[in-house]
């Protein structure tokens, strides 16, 4: 029984990281209708920014995190401005390939600056583990769960009740109509990229704290998993990304604990395919009716 709860906790931990990254994917998809393949690499850049500010410059963690968030948000916006904005009217495949190009670019820049060997991620959160019965919850896990929950609540409030949030929903529903209502699509898309990248930076903190080492290719696997999570929950849907991310993390940890550690990826992707076969637009995705 203790293994069951222990796995649940680690699944929630991993799921929170996936959910934070998946939010970036799903928001960008909802608004710009593009798969931002470079999103996973923003996580890696975020983790490196913490290594630089904390380990090399010796700044206190809070300031380092704020700098990191600002830096990643800026990075997201500038990627959008330089690489995706000129392609607004291009085919979605052209945008996808450009995003892949950006992903290669970020990985190689990181490789040039930091080298190919892995670097240790600094310990920035020092909290003692809590024991409930026979289940032990690490301090970092506790922080991850709390912060993710707070972020999800805040994001939901932001999307539903602020002016920019409403603009974001309007643009994702109908771009032309939103423009006619006086909403600046370009600014809305920039804000979306900034928020998505900032969330990726926060995810990188938890990822770094859980896995402790960072490499230039660190971002790609969690990126792909989070992308899977976003599709799993219904891409374009914000609650879907949260649900999809957490479920994916739990499924992964349970299959690692109970079935096989080496086959866990196959199981995760297998579940995804089954879900999509039953619900072709994901768990919470909108059903699109076809017009003839």
């Amino acid at each position: 029984m203790s293994l069951f709860f222990q796995t649940l906790i680690s699944g929630l931990n991993l799921g929170s990281i996936y959910a934070l990254i998946a939010l970036g994917y799903t928001m960008v998809y909802g608004i710009a209708k593009m798969l931002n393949f470079a999103h996973g690499d923003v996580i890696m850049i975020g983790a490196y920014s913490v290594i630089v500010t904390v380990s090399s410059l010796g700044l206190p963690p809070v300031i380092a995190i704020l700098i990191g968030i600002a830096f990643c948000a800026l990075l997201g916006v500038s990627i959008e401005f330089l690489a995706y904005k000129p392609l607004r009217k291009a085919s979605s495949l052209a945008v996808l390939i450009t995003a892949i190009g950006v992903s290669y670019f970020l990985q190689n820049i990181a490789q040039l600056i930091f080298g190919t060997q892995q670097l240790a991620f600094p310990k920035i959160i020092n909290l003692d583990a809590i024991k409930i019965g026979s289940v032990q919850i690490d301090g970092i896990t506790l922080v991850t769960l709390c912060v993710t929950a707070v972020i999800m609540v805040l994001l939901t409030l932001f999307i539903n009740f602020t002016k920019i949030g409403k603009a974001m929903r309007a643009v994702s529903e109908d771009k032309e109509a939103a423009e006619l209502m006086g909403i600046s699509t370009n600014r809305t898309i920039s804000v979306t990229f900034a928020i998505g990248s900032a969330l990726a930076m926060i995810a990188s903190l938890f990822y770094g704290a859980t896995y402790t080492y960072i490499k230039p290719t660190t971002g790609s696997m969690p990126g792909i998993k989070a992308f899977t999570a976003a599709v799993f929950g219904g891409i374009g849907s914000i609650p879907g990304a949260m649900l999809g991310g957490i479920m994916l993390g739990i499924i992964e940890q349970y299959s690692k604990a109970y079935i096989s550690t080496t086959m866990s990826d196959a199981i995760v992707f297998g579940v995804l395919i089954l879900v999509l076969l039953v619900k072709p637009t994901g768990l919470l995705g909108k059903k699109i009716s076809e017009k003839v």
Partner: protein, 347 residues
Amino acid sequence: MAKKNFNNALKKAFSKDALTIYLVVAIYAVISIMLYGDLASRQLTNMLISVSCYIVLAVSLNLVVGLLGELSLGHAGFMSVGLFSGCLFSMWTVDLIPMLYIRLPLAMIFGGLFAAIVGFVVGLPALRLKGDYLAIVTLACGEIIKNIITNLEITGGALGLTTTNSGSYIYSKPKVLLPYAIVLVLITVVVMMNIKKSRHGRAIMAIRDNRIAAEATGVNVTYYKLIVFVLAAFFAGAAGVLYGHSFANIKPAVFNYNMSIEILVIVVLGGMGSINGSIIAAIALKALPEMLRGLDKYRMLIYSIVLIVVMLLNSNQKFIEFKSKFSFKSLLKMKKKSKKEEISNEQ
């Protein structure tokens, strides 16, 4: 009458498709002379087989992405299924059939068929899903295939398959494999061209342009979607077998989504649905990192920047105008036009 036939034959011999085949033959002729005349550098020799495999992979993926219009991110998975099954077949029959010219084609067909079966299974969800959802499912299938092969004992697990063990020695040098590569590339190109021109090709493109309209005019969507996945997987698998014979050790982890994406990049840069484009892009994109090897650390960085810039330029309206002004075709047209004008002026 005879003149008309002759004209038709002439037209056929200089048609766009025929020119593609001439191009491929010419490239391979030059390469063969260089290779067998010992003029080729080691770098070029090492690249030959893998570039040939990438041409086959790109041309076959073009069938799915270019003609059917569905995004597939699991092409490397099909390739690895073909590779491992075909190479195992080759290893088991190496004593029985020592002649490479019989064993390798048999292994390619075996590996191709195996990959085609997997392609059929992956094609099934394609009937229900589309767009990005299908893309993620093909990506997931590719990762599942990789994961399963890594866990199979028969393929050597994560350490991979070693082709140089005594008793199952199937490794061959590029010089030996080149003729097979040429034949495989030519067969793939000819088959894809004929599909594109046939009524099957038109049906597939009709599904891409408007599925509902195609269905209403009697196109069997289920059949064509499945056949496209099966065919693309078959050729990817056959290319995989060739690829496997050119390496002493093959690890299943290589065939991940990054490799699938690499093939997709070739297809998109070459132009959707264009076989010529796929061939040229495969050569250029595989050769570019090799040529930049001198720059060592910066080569992948340059590669990524080139990729982004090409994509940006290709969708820039001003650049498209500039390109069409100076393209080969429009220059020819201008010549014709001025001739016509001359004639009309004389009159």
